[in-house]
């Protein structure tokens, strides 16, 4: 493998791994903050148990997100030094602001929150977790501002062969952020909601668990989850429309649309030949892609062949086609997982309408623990499409990946770090999952009331 491939592989490994933990941090911080607020307002002990139970899982996950985030900040300089030189003027600023504005706040107040239960008043303690929640999401905002520049460069000019910032407000008001940030925040909330739904469902089906707490957790997660999944789908839709406008090649790859169509059909299932750029087998629905792209049944969606010609004319000879099969299947897996999540969330909401969660149909409740995988699948494939679909560009239209990689880092060094990170991350994943499962199964405390006990028996016998 050459240096570029190794550097890209390392970026993929470290970033996908990092983003395995981030969405849960983003969403669960907000949900734990809501739980503690309920505790402060109601004074009911069950909400304190709830805050502590989910808070423990939050912390285990948070630690992994933080430490893998350090790698993210360092590897631009390590593996992508030419990229860092070229866009440092613009790209470094949001990263530094993220550290100053969000990272300090998040880590300081998380420490205060974990260790401050008996040192602070209830209100100040709840404020600490709100600050963690707000700063985690602010952190995501600044990272996405940086990423948005790579997707849609704005607020810059090229001087002496480097991109220089000339409009900070254009950078932070990049139109790409308005679809990307809400999409990421709502997918964080969906991830947390499904995490809670799955674990609470497990406890609700187990006689010995604290049913009162898990019923309420399930209820909160069902409400937030439904809203969040609807949010994900709506913002995802506007993101796709934005993509048609700003990165048509990514959309064409995500659809395996070889030639321009007007109106454009959408593929339900395509087996294609990527080399020859043709379908081997395809099921397509007429006009649907035009509808998705423009909210109407007409409209031209450009195909890969035409875009390749356009790019060649504009930027010179080269291959401007991203990996089509990965883009196509990532897109389908993401959307498919999202649709299943919508159904599951609405079903969960429906369950909470009744008197006892699960008493109507505990058989289906059994599936919720498995559904935790869905948001993870959607989060990962979503980013695969976003980043791979931009190929060959590292900054869209400005810099190609092959020009971005460090010139003085040898193959041996790249292999060392790639293998090192992969092994380390593998071991840590095992330890993390072990702890998450251990604490997720833990019975936070015995059922408080007789009523919960009866419910447990009725559930178990159903």
């Amino acid at each position: 493998m050459d240096a570029l491939t190794l550097a890209r592989l390392q970026f993929a490994v470290t970033t996908v791994y990092h983003f395995f933990f981030v969405p849960l941090t983003l969403g669960l911080s907000i949900l734990v903050a809501i739980m503690e607020t309920l505790y402060v307002q109601s004074g009911q002990d069950v909400y304190k148990q709830m805050t502590k139970f989910w808070g423990k899982l939050f912390i285990i996950n948070f630690a992994m997100g933080v430490v893998t985030g350090i790698v993210q900040e360092f590897q631009f300089g390590m593996n992508w030094s030419e990229y860092s030189r070229y866009v440092g003027d613009i790209f470094g600023a949001p990263l530094a602001i993220e550290a100053l504005l969000a990272f300090f706040l998040e880590s300081t107040f998380l420490g205060v929150w974990i260790f401050g239960w008996d040192k602070l008043s209830k209100k100040v303690h709840a404020t600490a977790i709100w600050l963690v929640a707000i700063s985690s999401n602010l952190s995501a905002l600044w990272i996405l501002i940086a990423n948005s520049f790579m997707q849609q460069p704005v607020g810059y000019e090229i001087i002496n062969g480097r991109a220089q910032m000339n409009d900070f407000f254009a950078l932070i008001l990049n139109p790409n952020i308005w679809t990307q940030f809400p999409h990421v925040v709502s997918s964080g909330l969906s991830t947390a909601a499904f995490f809670i739904l799955g674990i609470s469902a497990f406890h609700l089906l187990r006689a010995a668990s604290n049913h009162d707490m898990h019923r309420r957790s399930f209820q909160i997660a069902a409400i937030i989850g439904t809203l969040a999944v609807i949010g994900v789908i709506m913002t995802g839709h506007s993101q796709a429309q934005h993509m048609v406008e700003t990165q048509p090649m990514k959309m064409a790859a995500a659809e395996a649309l070889w030639d321009t169509e007007s109106p454009a059909a959408m593929s339900l299932f395509t087996v294609g030949n990527e080399k020859e750029r043709r379908d081997v087998f395809a099921i397509r629905i007429p006009r649907l892609l035009s509808l998705l792209a423009y909210n109407q049944l007409n409209g031209t969606v450009k195909g890969i062949n035409e875009l390749q010609e356009e790019f060649t004319a504009q930027y010179g000879p080269g291959n401007y086609v991203p990996p089509v099969a990965v883009s196509y299947w990532s897109f389908r897996l993401m959307v498919g997982a999202g649709m299943l999540m919508l159904l599951a969330a609405i079903y969960a909401l429906f369950l909470t309408m009744g008197e006892e969660v699960g008493s109507k149909s505990p058989r289906l409740l059994k599936f919720f623990p498995y559904l935790i995988a869905l948001p993870y699948l959607a989060n990962t494939t979503g980013w695969l499409l976003t980043e791979l679909g931009r190929a060959p560009w590292v900054v869209y239209g400005l810099m190609k990946m092959e020009d971005a990689v460090s010139i003085n880092v040898g193959i041996g060094a790249l292999w060392t770090t790639l293998i090192g990170f992969t092994l380390l991350y593998g071991v840590l994943m095992v330890a993390d999952l072990y702890l998450l499962v251990k604490y997720a199964r833990k019975n936070s405390s015995k059922p408080l009331s007789q009523k919960s006990g009866e419910a447990a028996i009725s559930l178990a016998g159903d």
């Binding site: 860092s84 470094g92 220089q164 380390l424 840590l428």
Partner: protein, 337 residues
């Protein structure tokens, strides 16, 4: 003063913040297997820094982010050039951070032992590697006309860099010991004191060696003159004061003076460097400076406004968090970690 100079100062401040704060929690981590003879003691040791280590570490990440924003060529040259040491630094920080959160969440002795070693190694390596890195930055490394590091891994392991790395390990160990003596009572407190009694003279010897090596290996006399000025001299005086206070059993002042000495040493290092940010041993013309490595004036202006607005708040709430957890850890304390 131009913005380039201001950003050089701001990054100095960030590194001072990092070494002064994370310095003692690295030290506490190094002392974990030495002073922590049983699990309860080890937990007490970790809990002294429990609420703070993560916030302290952010100073380093901010310094990295700030050099990316203000001096992108510095960031690019240093991070791609010091590739393997930085990889080791990342591994150390990763296992350390995870270990704090994970070690007490399971009873299994092997589990705890493993993470305790991770804390030890993760606390020992960063001061060693950062000492090596900064010594090389000041001493000079091969950098060509295109600002690209042309040396290898072993170029970085020269005697001067190793002395600097070991000195920083020893100083932070003593500094961590002083912190422990302030944050604990009873046996643990006493064992920290007796350890400093042994380690103090060792660290003094290392400091003297480092000072001599600095005169031999860097262009300090050309940069600062034969009389290096107030700041390096102040650092030396602060070290002496720290020793004197410690001998009078005034650990609070000994700790403060060590913090002052560390701050002034970091500032001295940047003084020797100024206005360069990385010295090229290939040719003085190829050194990276605050001018040829910097961002555009526009970016520097934006970042100045942002930093000067935010840093005071950071200082206030981090200071407040130390106030909240000002009590000593005793055997009866609730141990979260």
């Amino acid at each position: 003063m131009d913005l380039n100079t201001l950003w050089f100062i701001l990054i100095t401040v960030l590194y001072v913040g990092f070494f002064v704060l994370e310095g003692f929690d690295f030290g506490v981590g190094i002392l974990l297997p030495i002073l922590g003879k049983d699990d309860k003691t080890r937990r007490m040791i970790i809990n002294t820094i429990g609420p703070h280590w993560d916030g302290n570490e952010v100073w380093l990440l901010t310094a990295g982010g700030a050099s990316f924003a203000a001096f992108p060529h510095w960031y690019a040259t240093m991070f791609s050039g010091f590739y393997l040491p930085l990889f080791l630094l990342l591994v150390a920080l990763i296992i350390r951070g995870v270990a704090f959160e994970f070690r007490s969440k399971d009873e299994n002795p092997l589990w705890r032992k493993t993470w305790d070693w991770a804390i030890f190694v993760g606390s020992l390596l960063p001061p060693l590697l950062l000492g090596v890195a900064f010594a090389n930055i000041v001493k000079g490394v091969p950098i060509d006309a295109n600002m690209t590091y042309t040396g290898g891994f072993f170029n970085l392991l020269n005697p001067y860099a190793l002395i600097a790395g070991l000195t920083s390990v020893v100083i932070f160990t003593v500094y961590g010991g002083l912190f422990l003596s302030l944050k604990t009572t009873g046996k643990l407190h006493d064992s920290a004191i007796s350890l400093i009694k042994k380690a103090g003279p060792v660290s003094a010897a290392f400091i003297i060696a480092l000072v001599i090596a600095t005169y031999l290996s860097t262009d300090i006399t050309a940069q600062l003159g034969i009389n290096p000025g107030m700041i390096p001299v102040g650092a030396a005086l602060a070290i002496l004061a720290a020793g004197a206070f410690f001998n009078q059993q005034r650990q609070g002042w000994a700790f403060t003076m060590t913090a002052v000495a560390i701050s002034l040493s970091v500032i001295s290092l940047f003084e020797i460097l100024f206005p360069r940010v990385m010295v090229s041993s290939t040719s003085a013309d190829f050194s990276l400076t605050i001018y040829n490595a910097s961002s555009s004036p526009y970016t520097l202006r934006v970042m100045t406004i942002v930093a000067l607005t935010l840093v005071p708040f950071v200082l206030i709430y981090q200071g407040w968090s130390y106030w909240v957890f000002r009590q000593r850890i005793t055997e009866k304390s609730v141990l979260e970690y």
